[in-house]
Symmetry: C2
Subunit: 213 residues, 2 copies
Amino acid sequence: MKKAYISKNVIRRLPRYLRKLDELRAAGVERISSGELGARTGLTPSQIRQDFSCFGEFGQQGYGYNVASLREEIAHILGMDLQRSVILVGTGRIGQSLIENISFERLGCRLMGAFDIRPELIGTCIGDIAVQNASGMRNFIREHGIDIAILSTNRTYAHSIAEGLIAAGIRAIWNFTEEEIDPGESGVIVESIHFSDSLLELSYYLSQQRNDR
Amino acid sequence: MKKAYISKNVIRRLPRYLRKLDELRAAGVERISSGELGARTGLTPSQIRQDFSCFGEFGQQGYGYNVASLREEIAHILGMDLQRSVILVGTGRIGQSLIENISFERLGCRLMGAFDIRPELIGTCIGDIAVQNASGMRNFIREHGIDIAILSTNRTYAHSIAEGLIAAGIRAIWNFTEEEIDPGESGVIVESIHFSDSLLELSYYLSQQRNDR
DNA sequence: TAGATTGTTAATCGATTAACAATC
DNA sequence: TAGATTGTTAATCGATTAACAATC
């Protein structure tokens, strides 16, 4: 029975299921039970079945789940078949490394443009796209109906540029700056990766380790 | 009253409190109540007081919390005063951008070395440290008592290198590869940043947006 | 002193786990 | 058919919120 609201915890687990299923598929495994998937992910079979049942009935009693079709169901739930258009805003080393390392196509995204304010970077290429002057960003977003902006500028500009993106009608911001981006009433989705938060968490657990000084 | 076990949710909020407190301090604010901090973070005052009370009594009735001293308490809880030693393993663009963008000193870490297997990178400089041949990594970790390895290699090598790090006695791995690193029985702490998981979460919420196709 | 705000206990809410009938 | 495993309901556990006495 499909649910209306799905909790953040469930959504956070979906990409992990997807990765595991990709692995299984690559290894030639055709079917998997919640029990085995649980053993491989460290989750309980109950939780896995609960998670899936939020979205529909993907399994078969006595059999389990078909790896390939479950994989497709999850990919669909995550919107991977919707061909999102993406721009890169801020083409410093973080931005470049993201473009280089993430296979956007595989995730259902297409990189459409890259923007910067530094004259020396404008015109240079990142992957197979040329960096444009940020002054043209607003029009570009409107004309191409850009869905997602990767925000990887210097943190000094983060807020003003985010405002500009929202005003231009962007639908989501993938934020790599240390600043907190507030979408206000716009309904824009903000997903942040705060490197230092992650390192500090690690630091905490390190100080809890038995053999710590 | 201090608690023995602190939940992951609480720990995840601490760096956010820290950032907010740094902002307040920079803005010259001396004291803050849980109510106001709640308004600024989007959390409830209750939750904030509960979180802090896991670690001790940092406030004063009728007054609230002193910004500077609360900031120091949280920094201490997070182990930011312990001067962790860090190495970079894999010096491609991600690795480089991390070194360039994260102020390790401010987070209580010191970058001690960088390693790669690609001959053309060995000897080049990242920030102010020279890239060394990965063959010397094990000894380096032992000699310098390295705490944390930033794993930013090609995903192909992720597992074998992680094994090497663990065998060499590393205490924590900050994982930027798409692979899941399993510490086994070693007690090594693994904190992963999976870029694509984050983008897929964003993609899900995008597909739930009212005005989505 | 009076007002404000904490730390903590109790109540509520939500998420995870267990159990089991349904069924492949 | 018998065994396996689902989807779902109920039970448990944990986290968040509310309430309030203590006290600055």
